[in-house]
């Protein structure tokens, strides 16, 4: 069965849901077909995936030095 084409604008709208697997199998297939032929949308997808991976890395938000110790003391002296 032929895959119905999808526009770049439609792809952009769904990129985030695509990454989270929050779309129908049919739409996923249409988007995957689009990525194969559209360098721009592929760049958007890969870039978005890249930054999502970066912000989700535990090294980005680290508690300040001594945070835990100060917290321990606070809980014990309340």
């Amino acid at each position: 069965m032929a895959i119905i084409e999808i526009s770049c604008a439609e792809v952009w709208r769904e990129i985030s849901n695509y990454l989270d697997g929050e779309i129908s199998a049919e739409l996923r297939e249409r988007m995957a077909a689009h990525f194969k032929v559209c360098a721009h949308c592929t760049a958007v997808l890969e870039g978005t995936q890249n930054v999502v991976g970066l912000v989700g890395d535990g090294r980005v938000f680290q508690v300040p030095e001594g945070f835990s110790k100060r917290l321990y003391e606070k809980i014990h002296t309340r």
């Binding site: 721009h40 978005t48 890249n50 970066l54 090294r59 300040p64 309340r78």
Partner: protein, 211 residues
Amino acid sequence: MTEPRFTAIEAGLIERARGGDPDAFYELLRPYERMVYATAISVLKNPADAEEVSQEAILKAFTGFKSFRAEARFSTWLVQITYNEARMRLRKARPHLYESLDERSESEDGSISPRDFADWQPIPSELLEKEELRQAVHDAINSLSPTYREVLVLRDVQHLSIKETTTILGISETNAKTRLHRARLQLRDALAPGLDGCWVRGEPYRKVRAW
């Protein structure tokens, strides 16, 4: 039958913490310290305020631990308390700014045109060892509007589910998804000047293109 949410050890700690045992509460809390801090700093942006609010939120959680219901997730409950504390702090500090942002209309259909960075070179996550890149990611997150930032932090930084995110923020699933989508694309745009390879080459973070 729902699956038990807690291990026997955690259940024991919860029981002791309910009775006011600070050691038990501290032990229960330790895996979530970073989560609490990340939540606070995502609202307040400033490390000193974030630590203060984190500690206040945790103390509040300890004092009110009797109201913690075992069917809730401890992480969600803690993050919710921290959000409330952080927002209250922000409201006190900058009431006008806070109100105007809080009441932004939600006429969001998600249509957004990402900029064309065709020669995209991914930033390898190992580079997060560099303070400079961590700072750039912080700056990019801070450049988002609060409504986008909070969804992004819960979903992509804290790895909470859509359901947990909507519970904490009190917004609909559609809104959460739309905001997350916009936040991610804006984040990509914000980090893009450093994405054409300057990280990989070890060059300082700078705007390397004309935009």
